[in-house]
Every structure is written in structure tokens, then in C-alpha cells.
């Protein structure tokens, strides 16, 4: 779960990571200007990267200018995301910008601490030799030598090193305790007065750890309404650009089915992974969800190893009857009890074929939108 900047900064503040003085605004006239010193920065709260270049960050010298810009921003769309909230912050007097991030290195199976004296730019564009990189051992965390080496690499003064070391330690504590997948400060600003402040904040929390972080439950996420509904039902569901709805069991098989579709000239509109279920109720839910995504055709690809094909077929049949689904359905169903399954499906008016290639071609023909 990706957090909005203002939310991430609230978490930062809890860990004593300095953030600019700010207010969150939903309507332009909510902003009274008394809480902050001018000039201010007005930042759109959207979950897409590169919002600065897309016009999502503006400056204002006085209250009138600020309200005008807030108003424009609140009615705008940044890279396809509607702006519902803006964060107004005191503008920092920037002397230096650095980068600090902790992410997950999958190859090393370890957290990776990254830092650079060149902040404010995309970290991918910073040359390797200018990056400080250190894998962190989970049980040891940030040891003093790591901070000494980081300060040396970034050529920080003694005073800067002290302040930034404190922030790095706090950031790791946050990463660890909040079950973060990624936490990033870009830029971490050193002001002309020598203060160190997190000007931006990026924080992604592991969805699978939300059971121990109820405070993040129900936060606005970057999901379509149907994706939200699927999430509540525990179904892996992703809306894509095409028109053919693909349902399969297992993430790998669902991806492979979408790939196969595109080799034959079709285009997937929905990725729906049933997972390891053969519970007819869950299958029914999945089909009804798919119906509401309005595909031109539904392509079902089931391999029954432990999953029983016939109980999946019953769920499909029930959904078609209850949901009065008139979207054509093509099924390729193989494995445990496949003959029974095909019979059930054919009786429900579904095209049931033997190979995935046949199914894909049939779906493209029937879809044809």
C-alpha cells in the first residue's frame, strides 16, 4: 500500500524525522495562511511519480496567490489522477539536497540502504560510483560503522553527519516496525541555516502485514472500484486495457493465458486469478465481478490438480444463471473430473474446448469488438 505524501510525513514525524511545517487542504478557502510563513509550496497529493514536471507542485508568495493556485490544483488531474487534497508547506531555504532510501533487495534477500549527495533527481539516474549502498542484516539493523561510512561517502560535514545519521537510524526503525517495502526521502534538504528536513516522503507498506497495522486500514488507494471490491473478497483482480476477461487458477497460469491471447492478436481486459479454490461460491463471486468489468468475452482457463474442475464448473454455471450473464464464455478446463466439468459447462451454453490454443482463438472470434 502506497501512502500519500502527507500521510507518510505523519509517520515520519512519529519517528522524529523532521518534516516542513504544513497543512492539508481540501478546499482553497480552508487555507487561512496564518499557520504558515510565506512563501509556501503547494503540492498535489497523488500517488504517481514525476508530479513536479506534470504541474503538480507550485509556489506562492502570499495568501491570494496561494488560494488561487490551490483552487486550480484541486480541480486538476495529474497524470490521470484526480487531485483531491493538497499539502501546503513552508518553502525551505535549500542549501543542499541529498537522497536517502531503504528498499528491498530481492537478489540478496536483504534490506538495502541507499544514499547519495545528489538528491532531488531520480535515484536511477545517479551514477553508481556516487551512490552509497549497504545491505542491512535484519537482526543487526543500522550499526555505527554504517553511518560513518555513509557520512564519508557523501562528504558530509561533522554537524551534517550527526543530524543525518540520526535520520537514517530513525528511517530504518520506521522501515522495520511499520513493515515497509520502501521508504524514501528525496530530497532530504539541508537548509542555509543548517537544518536537515525531509522535503518529500515516499512510503509503501506491505499489504500482507496490514493485520498488525490496523491504522493503515481503509486508506485511499490507487485502485479502481472493481479492484477494491475484489480486494475485499480476496480475489487477485487487475483491470487492463483490452476487452477479453481472463480467469485462471494461479497467478502464473493467468499471466501465461494473457500472454497467449496476445500472441494470437487478442488483448486481455481483466486479469483474474482464482487461486487454489474450487469453492463454487468463490468462483461465482469471481464471475460476477468479471461481469461488472464488462468484457466482450470471458476466457476461463482451469488446470485442476487438486482443484476439482467440476465444482469450478458448478460455480460458473450458478453465476451465469444468477447474474443473467449474456457475455459469451469460453472455457478450457483440464485435470481432475474434467469430463464432468465440460458436461456441466456445455449444458450451461458455454463453449468448452480441450486446448488453450483453441480456447484463445475461439475467445478472440467471439469477442471481436
Amino acid at each position: 500500500m502506497k501512502l500519500y505524501e502527507y500521510k507518510a510525513k505523519e509517520v515520519f514525524a512519529k519517528y522524529n524525522i523532521p518534516v516542513p511545517k504544513s497543512v492539508v487542504v481540501l478546499e482553497a478557502d480552508e487555507f487561512k495562511g496564518e499557520e504558515l510563513d510565506f512563501p509556501v509550496v503547494i503540492k498535489s497529493q497523488v500517488l504517481v511519480g514525476g508530479r513536479g514536471k506534470a504541474g503538480g507542485i507550485k509556489f506562492a508568495d502570499d495568501l491570494n496567490e496561494a488560494r488561487e493556485r490551490i483552487d486550480v490544483m484541486l480541480n486538476s488531474t495529474i497524470k490521470g489522477c484526480k487531485v483531491k487534497k493538497v499539502l501546503v508547506e513552508e518553502k525551505l531555504d535549500i542549501e543542499k539536497e541529498i537522497y536517502i532510501g531503504i528498499t528491498l533487495d530481492r537478489s540478496a534477500s536483504a534490506p538495502l540502504l541507499l544514499a547519495s549527495a545528489e538528491g532531488g533527481v531520480e535515484i536511477e539516474t545517479v551514477p553508481e560510483e556516487k551512490l552509497f549502498k549497504k545491505h542491512i542484516t535484519p537482526f543487526l539493523g543500522i550499526q555505527p560503522f554504517i553511518l560513518r561510512n555513509l557520512s564519508a561517502k557523501l562528504r558530509l560535514s561533522k554537524e551534517e553527519g550527526k543530524k543525518i545519521s540520526k535520520i537514517v537510524s530513525a528511517l530504518y526503525a520506521l522501515f522495520d516496525r511499520e513493515d515497509a517495502e520502501l521508504v524514501e526521502i528525496n530530497p532530504l534538504v539541508i537548509t542555509s541555516q543548517g537544518e536537515v528536513i525531509a522535503a518529500d516522503a515516499k512510503l509503501i507498506i506491505d499489504n500482507d502485514a496490514l493485520f498488525r497495522h490496523p491504522e493503515y486500514e481503509g486508506l485511499d488507494e490507487d485502485l479502481t472500484p472493481l479492484e477494491k471490491r475484489a480486494k475485499q473478497k480476496g480475489i487477485a483482480f487487475i483491470q487492463l486495457d483490452g476487452d477479453i476477461g481472463v480467469i485462471a487458477n494461479g497467478a502464473g497460469l493467468t499471466m501465461a493465458t494473457l500472454d497467449n491471447l496476445s500472441f494470437h492478436g487478442g488483448k486481455g481486459g481483466v486479469f483474474l486469478d482464482l487461486g487454489g479454490t474450487d469453492d463454487p461460491e468463490k468462483v461465482k463471486e469471481a464471475i460476477l465481478l468479471m461481469k461488472d468489468a464488462e468484457p466482450s468475452v470471458i476466457l476461463l482457463n482451469i488446470f485442476g490438480g487438486i482443484t476439482k474442475c467440476d465444482t469450478v464448473a458448478i460455480g460458473v454455471k450458478d453465476a451465469i444463471e444468477i447474474g443473467k450473464i449474456d457475455i459469451p464464455v469460453v472455457a478450457r478446463i483440464k485435470g481432475l473430473n474434467e469430463e464432468k466439468a465440460k458436461k456441466i459447462l456445455r449444458n450451461a451454453g458455454i463453449v468448452a474446448v480441450d486446448t488453450i490454443e483453441q480456447a484463445v482463438k475461439e475467445a478472440i472470434t467471439l469477442g471481436g469488438r
Partner: protein
């Protein structure tokens, strides 16, 4: 010979009295796996299909001299179960559970490295050596003894490929499901190394997917191998930034695309199939 699991496997099932535990205990027994015990705290003294249930891993290992354990407990209890297993002198630990928080997985895998314990998973279907043992939840019927070693990041897609290989008249030495999570105990490179040293394995099938760089790292190793490798990569049409069902299946910041993996594998000399069904054909054509 096969790898990881065979006739010498002495298996404990953690979570044996749960719905999944009871079902898969039977399936593993029927596959002639030497299941020596199960563990469910508070249910010691009971039995499941004649398998004795113990209260703790320590007690179970002491009584049965088990060397392998499989975890079939819910995600929020999996870390505790894994640490309990690793502290009881188990050598191989297979974690089936899906949705384990990745910080928990980090802790488990870091500790496993210290203790030199082989962890497979989490979020995996397990390991099968046909004719010898099954430590996992893969469907038994699709396997046949043979010489193809299979290593994969997914579940059902693997069954599909195993089944196609069997229907084509070939068989498997060992089939390993590595797991669909970003943090997993055993990598493609680990599995390739084991298959490379296994006399029963003549050909290797690698089933990868988008996300991470494990397939690219595997490609580096494949360059040095003599045994032929056949591969399939899922997610060629997946949009960037979306998690395609598996926590680990995500193209982020332009990294982890199927195209990059396919290219690396081809350059290393592997045969990459366009669709999974083509794999058996590619094997018989070449071998």
C-alpha cells in the same frame, strides 16, 4: 538420486491437524513419503491418518529423528513455526504458506543462512521427486519418474507443464516450486546448481515470471552448464507497476520485464518456449 527430497526424507508436517494439513498429509503418505510426525501445539498425543502428532518441534524431532519439515500454518503464525523448525535441527524447511509479511520472510531467510538450513518458499507448492517423496501440495497424479528437473516460481502453471511433459512420454527427476514471493529461500541459481550435480537429471526446465532479476542471474549460471535448459517466462504482456497475483510478480521502475529475462536466457543458450505447452516438444527435439 533426485534432489532435496527422496527415500531418506523424514518429514514433519507443521499444522497437520488443520484442514490443509489433514488433506495433504494423506496425499504425501499416498505418494510413499516417509511422514514421521506432525506438530500442532496443544494437540500432542493425537494422530492424523496414523501419523503421531506432537506439541512441539523439539519433541517431534527428538522422537522421530526427522530431517525435513513442511509448514502449512496460517501466515501470521508462519514465522514462529519456521523459527521453531530451524531451532530443532531440521535441515530442509518447505514453507507453503502464502501472504507471509516480507519482513517475516527476511527474518526467516536471514536466520536460515546463519544456520545453513535450506528453505524452500514461502508461497510455494513444495518439492516432488516422483517415485521417492513429495513434500508439498502438488497434485500427485501428474508426475512420472524420469530425467527432467523442473524449477519454477509458480504453482498451477508448473502443474500444467509437468502434466504436458508426462503426457508427452517423459518424466521428472525432481520438481521444485520456489515460490511467488519477492523474498524466497532458494533461488533459480541454487536449484540449477543442485540439478547440475544430480545424475538423475538430464534436462532442466526453468519456469520464470516477471519481477526481480532471479532469471537474469540464472542465465549467468546457465552459460557455465553442460545440461540443456528449457525455459518459459510468464507475464510478457503484464503492465508495469501492477502486482500480477504473486507478490513478487511486478515490473517496477522498468526492471524485471519478461523481455529482459527472455533475452538473457536465450543469450545464455537456453531454449525459451513461446507458450508453456511447447516445452515437451522442445525437449524431445533437442535430446
Amino acid at each position: 538420486m533426485a534432489i532435496l527430497v527422496d527415500q531418506n526424507t523424514r518429514l514433519i508436517i507443521q499444522g497437520i491437524t488443520g484442514h490443509q494439513g489433514i488433506f495433504h498429509a494423506k496425499a504425501m503418505l499416498d505418494f510413499s513419503t516417509n511422514v514421521v510426525g506432525g506438530v500442532t501445539p496443544g494437540k500432542g498425543g493425537e494422530n492424523v491418518h496414523g501419523i503421531p502428532v506432537f506439541n512441539s518441534m523439539e519433541e517431534a524431532v527428538e522422537q522421530t529423528h526427522a530431517n525435513t519439515s513442511i509448514i502449512l500454518v496460517p501466515a501470521r503464525f508462519a514465522k514462529d513455526a519456521a523459527f521453531e523448525a530451524m531451532d530443532s535441527n531440521i535441515k530442509i524447511l518447505v514453507i507453503i504458506t502464502e501472504h507471509i509479511p516480507f519482513h517475516d520472510a527476511l527474518d526467516i531467510i536471514t536466520y536460515a543462512k546463519f544456520k545453513k538450513i535450506r528453505v524452500i518458499g514461502p508461497n510455494c507448492p513444495g518439492v516432488v521427486s516422483p517415485g521417492k517423496a513429495k513434500v508439498g501440495i502438488m497434485p500427485s497424479k501428474i508426475f512420472r519418474e524420469g530425467n527432467v528437473g523442473i524449477v519454477s516460481r509458480s504453482g498451477t502453471l508448473t502443474y500444467e507443464i509437468v502434466n504436458a511433459i508426462t503426457e508427452h512420454g517423459l518424466g521428472q527427476s525432481t520438481c521444485i516450486g520456489l515460490g511467488g514471493d519477492p523474498i524466497i529461500g532458494t533461488s533459480f541459481v541454487d536449484a540449477l546448481q543442485m540439478f547440475d550435480g544430480d545424475d538423475d537429471t538430464k534436462e532442466i526446465v526453468l519456469v520464470g515470471e516477471i519481477g526481480g532479476s532471479a532469471e537474469e542471474e540464472a542465465a549467468e549460471y546457465i552459460k557455465e552448464m553442460n545440461k540443456p535448459v528449457f525455459a518459459y517466462i510468464a507475464g510478457q504482456t503484464a503492465p508495469p507497476g501492477k502486482r500480477m497475483g504473486h507478490a513478487g510478480a511486478i515490473v517496477s521502475r522498468g526492471k524485471g520485464t519478461a523481455q529482459s529475462k527472455i533475452e538473457a536466457l536465450r543469450k545464455a543458450g537456453a531454449d525459451v518456449a513461446k507458450v508453456p505447452e511447447d516445452i515437451p516438444k522442445l525437449i524431445t527435439e533437442k535430446c
